[in-house]
């Protein structure tokens, strides 16, 4: 792998490492979907993961969240190895995600979608539930109020009784993010949150991402195709192609990286872009 590794020494964030992925590999039969993937994410960072279709971005997400089994390598979350854990155990440790194609609980109300994420913190047992004991009632009330507060933050509180699949697309995305945050994660994985959105919705989304990051003190890993979102939101970008990391850096560095342009648009485009930037610098 000979690619220009951009130095990240100018990072102003020296917080503790939240996620450390080392030599991660995933094979589907003979296909190596992810090859020797390495990534370190520090607390509070907002990192983008981009690359052409089929580059293995979502596979990385599925490996982190335990939906796929890891072929080799390790994923350390706050120092704890996630390899071999069940998806629900990983969520409990503090990683939540959204999906590329929205995966809400379509026939449940908006409120219940959020309340399900609280299940692990419900704090009452099975028999409390069957008997509707005092303890159940107190806990359930608390949980419901928290869920409503959450919906309020995302401006969905008037929709609480609505069936999730009846919501407009943008609100479904917002609900999915709200639901993921209700699981109280430290690390949020967003898989193409802007897919299928119109420019106005995209603008709202970008503000929403900034907002939740501040408010919930989150570390965010984001997959996105819309360059406007990636360039506008992320501090660091990792570019993947054919399961490999081909470039890392700040948005500006990535934008002018010939390897990245080649991966996206082909060699010709890379040459063209180089000539163009040379011409520009000559003119200047």
């Amino acid at each position: 792998m000979s690619h220009p590794e951009v130095s990240t020494s100018n990072s102003d964030n020296q917080g503790p490492v939240v996620l450390e992925i080392q030599n991660l590999n995933k094979n589907f039969g003979g296909l190596r979907a992810v090859k020797d993937f390495n990534k370190t994410i520090r607390k509070g960072e907002l990192v983008g993961l981009i690359g052409p279709n089929g580059a293995g971005k979502t596979t990385v997400f599925n490996l982190i969240t335990g939906l796929y089994t890891v072929s080799s390598g390790s994923i350390l979350f706050n120092g704890k190895n996630l390899v071999g854990l069940q998806p629900f155990e990983i969520t409990k440790l503090g990683i939540a995600r959204t999906f590329q194609n929205i995966r809400l609980f379509p026939n449940l109300s908006v409120l219940d979608n959020v309340r399900i994420a609280y299940h692990t913190h419900a704090g009452y047992g099975f028999f409390d539930a069957v008997l509707h004991s005092q303890h159940y009632q107190a806990k359930e009330k608390e949980l419901t109020e928290r869920a409503q507060e959450f919906l309020g933050v995302f401006n969905l509180q008037d929709r609480q009784g609505e069936i999730a699949r009846n919501l407009p697309y943008g609100e479904q995305r917002r609900l999915e993010i709200a639901r993921a945050l209700a699981a109280e994660p430290q690390l949020l994985l967003l898989d193409e949150p802007a897919a299928g959105m119109n420019p106005k919705e995209v603008a709202n989304l970008m503000e929403l991402i900034h907002f939740i990051r501040e408010r919930f003190n989150l570390t965010i890993l984001l997959i996105e195709h819309q360059m406007r979102v990636v360039m506008g939101v992320c501090e660091w970008i990792t570019v993947m192609d054919f399961g490999e990391v081909i470039a890392r850096g700040t948005p500006e560095e990535i934008q002018n990286n010939p390897v990245v342009i080649e991966a996206y648009l082909g060699r010709g485009a890379a040459v063209l872009s180089k000539q163009l930037s040379e011409k520009r610098s000559n003119a200047a």
């Binding site: 969240t65 939906l67 071999g84 069940q86 998806p87 629900f88 969520t91 409990k92 939540a96 995600r97 999906f99 995966r103 809400l104 609980f105 379509p106 026939n107 449940l108 109300s109 409120l111 219940d112 309340r115 399900i116 994420a117 609280y118 299940h119 692990t120 419900a122 009452y124 099975f126 409390d128 539930a129 069957v130 008997l131 509707h132 159940y136 359930e140 009330k141 949980l143 419901t144 109020e145 409503q148 507060e149 309020g152 933050v153 995302f154 401006n155 509180q157 008037d158 609480q160 009784g161 407009p168 609100e171 917002r174 993921a180 699981a183 919705e201 709202n204 503000e207 929403l208 907002f211």
Partner: protein, 417 residues
């Protein structure tokens, strides 16, 4: 003191009223034995179908095994009460009680062990559970033998009717738990299968149970079950009062469960398994939990069924009949508790009652032309079920009132679309 909501009062009031009216009709002999027994069947069918609705309607697992657990409940309870009334011995009760308790302890113990050795594949853990259960049953027989005599004489001190009611009640409860425990054992390896494959495996289970019951006197060694000749001499202890009590408890328990966080977790598995996993739901244990509860209901219902006519035949538990609760659940609306109960009664009363009575002599088999036709018409006209998702107010999930003060917190960023 908190006020009880109107819907709750209404529900219990109407339930009590129906119970009393039907009981009065039965006591005054205004209803013939034929019709009053059909009402008992209706309630029993409602309990089985509620169990299946939990498994299929709420948890999304297509199961044809419900009828097998129904059969297990029926034969287990019948054996206990048969031994008490016909042989004057509490042997069935004592052994079943000990076996169920010790098997429960064995499950707990093996589960505790398995948590310490994570990463065991389902079949190996199944083998461990099976070994635990076999040991538990052997221990139950060994411990139980000397206890049969004293328990029998103690129960004999009570008035004979009271003793029978106690034995009957315990037999029903224990048979339900037995069915639940067997479902846990069976569900461990099988629930790891995808939904359709799970359906086929449960169909296999129902067929195995039926074949075992056909040979219950030879292979299983229960002489009194008389295999394919049918078991007779079971006390007819199931009354309208008993079935309504059981149905009410099950209705309330189901409703309470569904309105809790556990219920939402169960439903989330049906809605989207992957999303449920990503939200921290242990999908596998939710499936097992629901399957066990559903089978518990089936076992209880089977036990009540066995004591309606006092006669059991393996043909009742033929796998073809296992489609009955499935059809009822789909008719009543997947995930509709009220629909399931209403359609159960309609199903029994129409199919076993009116069609039998109305069709002229010798046309009884035309029922099986009429009802498939009804199925087709129904599916074409009302695919969402007869009640179309209707739920009684008490059973309906009430939305908590909006909290207005949260609006101030919401941000301008999140607004608008």
């Amino acid at each position: 003191m908190k006020t009880i909501p109107r819907s709750t009062l209404l529900f219990f009031g109407v339930y009590l009223l129906i119970t009393i009216v039907v009981q009065a009709l039965i006591s005054l002999q205004l209803l013939t034995v034929f019709w009053s027994k059909l009402l008992l069947f209706g309630a029993v069918m409602a309990i089985v179908s509620l169990g299946l609705n939990l498994i299929y309607g709420f948890n999304g697992q297509f199961s044809l095994g419900q009828w097998g657990f129904y059969a297990i409940g029926a034969y287990a309870a019948a054996d206990v009460t048969f031994r008490w009334t016909q042989q004057g011995s509490a042997s069935g009760l004592v052994i079943l009680l000990l076996a169920v308790t010790l098997a429960g302890l064995a499950f707990w113990g093996v589960g505790w062990l398995l948590r310490r050795v994570p990463g065991l594949d389902p079949l190996s853990s199944f083998a461990l559970y099976l070994a635990g259960v076999i040991l538990a049953v052997m221990a139950a027989v060994a411990i139980g033998r000397p206890l049969i005599e004293p328990v029998t004489s103690a129960l004999a001190l009570l008035p004979s009717n009271l003793a029978l009611q106690i034995v009957f009640f315990l037999a029903v409860l224990l048979s339900g738990v037995l069915a639940a425990e067997i479902s846990y054992l069976f569900g461990l390896p099988v629930l790891t299968l995808g939904s359709d494959y799970f359906g086929i495996a449960t169909l296999g289970f129902t067929i195995i149970v039926k074949v075992l019951l056909d040979n219950s006197d030879t292979i299983l060694g229960f002489e009194e079950m008389k295999g394919a000749r049918g078991m007779i001499g079971i006390p007819q202890a199931t009354t309208w009062l008993w079935v309504t009590i059981f149905l009410l408890v099950i209705l309330v328990a189901t409703r309470n469960l569904l309105h809790s966080s556990h219920g939402r977790a169960i439903i989330s598995v049906r809605e989207d398994e992957l999303a449920a996993k990503a939200m921290g739901i242990d999908v596998a244990s939710q499936k097992i939990l629901t399957f066990v509860i559903g089978s518990l209901y089936a076992g209880l219902a089977g036990a009540l069924y066995a004591h309606i006519n006092g006669f059991l035949h393996p043909n009742t538990f033929n796998f073809i009949k296992s489609f009955d609760p499935m059809i009822i659940v789909v008719f009543g609306g997947l995930g509709s508790v009220s629909g399931t109960v209403v359609v159960s009664f309609i199903w029994i009363l129409v199919l076993e009652g009116f069609l039998r009575q109305w069709l002229p002599e010798g046309f009884e088999n035309w029922r099986f032309v009429v009802y498939p036709l009804l199925l087709i018409i129904m599916m074409l006209l009302r695919p969402s079920g007869l009640m179309g998702g209707f739920e009684l107010p008490y059973l309906r999930q009430i939305l908590p009132p909006l909290r207005k003060n949260v609006k101030a917190e919401s941000t301008a960023e999140a607004q608008g679309d």
